[in-house]
């Protein structure tokens, strides 16, 4: 008995590559549970009658259910159970902020460490990928209705998956030459291997979803033209890919890139293999990353892997306000990334060739809380100092890309350019068009984008079958 209580307190740690080694390679950092580890961890779950974890999950995964199946060794059953609520468990198990969602509500976490729900979710998906039969879920008979999904991020993929099994004819239109959205171009290989995303996309294709890459909707084709081509309903899941810069002097010097550009070169274009691939990426010796979200951590860790001597995160607030997941901050620090907190850049410095050589910063201190509820950073007078750097990656957030929306005047936007939708259904103000994910909420999370997709898919199905 004492033995069991003890087990509950200590969570099975996720095996990881050694920080010194992994800081210079692009292989996945956590290497995954073994069957034994997964079953031991699953045994820590109390199988609560009223599980807090499920309430904390934006798509309501039956967490005690799938964990119970793992502890009984029924891994196929476990993945089936997961799939019924979450189409991308291999992705979510890796990138969801479990610590503030399911695991944040786990009862075991009150006394010790919560059950490692994310690690277990990942285990199931990986086990199925490596050992499963690849059997497809059953599909309902064809309805004869055609659906267009714009954008192949987690939100669009969810809609496509849901509607294809409900019998609709689904085509995804993607601007890039590869499907997956941020999962492909943003989140790096060492955190989310691209082969896994490709597998999820391939799964949809096997189900019958058609994917048209290189289709920039708004340019190659408009929403109205899609309706003319016979689509009955459209889902817009184009994400929030407009890079934000800080608007400080010197921003267009060579050596200053948006995180979008840097990560796209590294991930989608595989520039870390240059010159084996054709796309180059700037290599900095002294790299500064502005911002402290997941995007900033990903950029910083990528720069380290590309051979930087030093990588610094510069952020104007304190550690408590850093928006990135704690685990990612920890991973970054283990890999040797330095944190320059309460520091605000004011000006970039360049040489006569127009290349970045450094940046001037001010030290900050925290004042009264602002509208966001976080304490407002205020500059310390006379605290100017210079950081030498030859590469700066700007990861201070993103806005709504207007490319599609500006070509669709009858779809209403809010003042920041995000699409206005009905909260319950995802309906936009344009007839027959739904939207969800980052283009509605602003930059958020994978699971929220999927949740929005699921809601919209239900509403679209009603519209397609019942006419409302």
């Amino acid at each position: 008995m004492a033995d069991k209580a003890e087990k509950r307190i200590s969570r099975i740690p996720m095996p990881e590559q050694d920080p010194k080694v992994r800081a210079r390679n692009f292989l996945e950092v956590p290497t995954g549970y073994t069957v034994k580890m997964a079953q031991e961890e699953a045994a820590r779950c109390l199988q609560c009658k009223k599980p807090g974890c499920v309430e904390g999950c934006p798509v309501g995964v039956d967490i005690p259910g799938f964990i119970d199946l793992i502890s009984r060794g029924d891994f196929t059953g476990a993945i089936r159970n997961l799939w019924s609520k979450n189409a991308l468990p291999a992705v979510c198990g890796r990138v969801c902020p479990q610590e503030i969602q399911c695991e944040g509500r786990c009862i075991v976490g009150k006394k010790g460490e919560p059950v490692a729900i994310g690690n277990l979710e990942r285990f199931c998906a990986d086990y199925e990928r490596e050992h499963g039969t690849g059997a497809l879920p059953p599909k309902q008979s064809p309805t004869g209705k055609k659906v267009a999904v714009i954008g192949s991020g987690p939100s669009g993929l969810t809609v496509a998956g849901d509607l294809i099994v409900k019998g609709h004819d689904v085509t995804i239109f993607e601007a890039f030459h590869k499907a997956g959205g941020v999962l492909i171009y943003g989140i790096p290989e060492f955190r989310l291997p691209k082969a896994i995303v490709a597998q999820e996309v391939n799964f949809l294709e096997r189900l019958g979803v058609k994917i048209e890459c290189n289709a920039v909707v708004g340019r190659t084709v408009s929403l109205d033209e899609l309706f003319e081509q016979g689509y009955d309903a459209i889902y817009v899941g184009v994400g929030a890919g407009l890079p934000r810069f800080m608007n400080i002097p010197g921003e267009n010097l060579v050596g200053i890139l948006s995180a979008n550009e840097y990560l796209t070169r590294a991930n989608l274009m595989k520039a870390y293999k240059f010159p084996d691939v054709d796309t180059p990426i700037p290599h900095g010796k002294n790299v500064v990353v502005l911002g402290a979200g997941n995007v900033a951590m990903d950029a910083a860790r990528t720069a380290m892997r590309l051979g930087a001597d030093s990588v610094k995160i510069v952020y104007r607030r304190s550690r408590d306000e850093m928006p990135a997941r704690k685990a990612e901050i920890h991973h970054a620090e283990e890999e040797g990334i330095e944190m320059f907190l309460l520091t605000n850049p004011t000006r970039y410095l360049g040489n006569d060739k127009g290349r970045l050589t450094g940046m001037e910063c001010l030290r900050m201190e925290l004042g009264e809380p602002d509208e966001s509820g976080r304490r407002r950073p205020v500059a310390v007078k006379g605290s100017e100092f210079t950081i030498d750097c030859d590469l700066c990656i700007v990861a201070v957030g993103s806005g709504a890309n207007p490319l599609l929306t500006s070509e669709t005047p009858d779809m209403k936007l809010n003042k920041w350019g995000y699409v206005i939708t009905d909260e319950k259904t995802g309906k936009t103000t344009k007839k027959g068009v739904w939207a969800g994910g980052d283009i509605v909420t602003g930059a958020a999370t994978v699971i929220l984008a999927m949740g929005a997709g699921r809601q919209a898919a239900d509403s679209m199905h009603d519209f397609l079958t019942l006419g409302w």
Binding site: A175, H177, R219, N252, L253, L257, V277, P282
Partner: protein, 278 residues
């Protein structure tokens, strides 16, 4: 795959013309717009303007100068081969208006970009003078087409091997001195566009230029193509690629175009060595 149906070598093989099957793009494209092409799985995304589109045949034509590894790779593609990806049409179409006397100035492969714009300007009733230039006679492209697209064609070469001996700006100055020019369109190497803009500014003639910064996505997502126009940062792929020539910070653009010069050079040399060894 986007199949190449016609391939021509211009300017002694340094400039290549590809006509490519891309029906959807051919249907939508307008003068001034560009596409992004990727040759194969490991290829780079390269922006090129459409020199021609044929909506009936479903083809687009690109004309490009072989400068680095990616364009060298493109050169190796033969009729029947194809590009893995062609994305577009991207960018804003040229704003075309009947204004009276216009001058179109083209340099190098910029002439290819200028051609559909020139033709359209003539079609809507403008009086079009064209000035095209190259370093030497052999590098001049589309002479016949430009002649047909304009009322008056002037040619310059830097070395005097053909036409006027000197820069396009010399001839442009003569034309501007005759007066009454309502609009200049200049497309070519950045230093040329810079020089033309400096000149036309003295004459206060509105000048349109087409910028070619380094791009990745071409949809406003990466910010790599940012240029300073009138003191503000613009993304050339969505706000352009055409801008008011008098407002552009050319020196910044020239510096930004050099960002990958050393990397690219190495990559290109390696590619040529491997290719020659074959």
């Amino acid at each position: 795959m986007f199949t190449i149906v016609r391939r021509e070598e211009l300017a002694g093989g340094t400039v290549i013309l590809n006509e490519i099957e891309a029906p959807q793009i051919a249907k939508k494209a307008r003068p001034g717009q560009f596409v992004i092409l990727k040759a194969n799985e490991d290829g780079e995304r390269i922006p090129l303007t459409m020199a021609e589109t044929d909506p009936d045949k479903g083809t687009i034509t690109i004309i490009y100068m072989v400068v680095g590894k990616s364009t060298a790779l493109f050169r190796d593609l033969q009729v029947g081969d194809g590009y893995q990806d062609v994305i577009g049409p991207l960018g804003k179409a040229t704003h075309l208006e009947k204004v009276g006397k216009v001058v179109c100035v083209g340099g190098g492969t910029g002439v290819a970009v200028l051609h559909p714009i020139t033709r359209a300007l003539k079609e809507i009733g403008n009086d079009v003078t064209c000035i095209i230039g190259a370093r030497t006679k052999d590098l001049l492209i589309l002479e016949e087409q430009m002649k047909n697209a304009s009322h008056d064609l002037r040619i310059c070469t830097d070395d005097g091997s053909y036409g006027h001996h000197g820069f396009v700006t010399d001839v442009l100055k003569e034309v501007l001195n005759q007066g009454d020019i309502k609009q200049v369109v200049a497309i070519g190497p950045v230093p040329m566009m810079k020089a033309v803009s400096a000149l036309t500014k003295q004459y206060e003639v509105p000048t349109l230029v087409s910028l070619n910064p380094i791009m990745v996505d071409g949809t406003g997502m990466c910010g790599g193509c940012r240029v300073t126009v009138g003191g503000a940062t613009k993304f050339a792929c969505v706000d352009g690629p055409e801008f008011d020539g008098h407002q552009v910070d050319y020196d910044e653009l020239i510096m930004r175009l050099r960002a990958y010069q050393e990397d690219e050079k190495k990559c290109h040399e390696e590619y040529c060595t491997i290719r020659d060894a074959r």
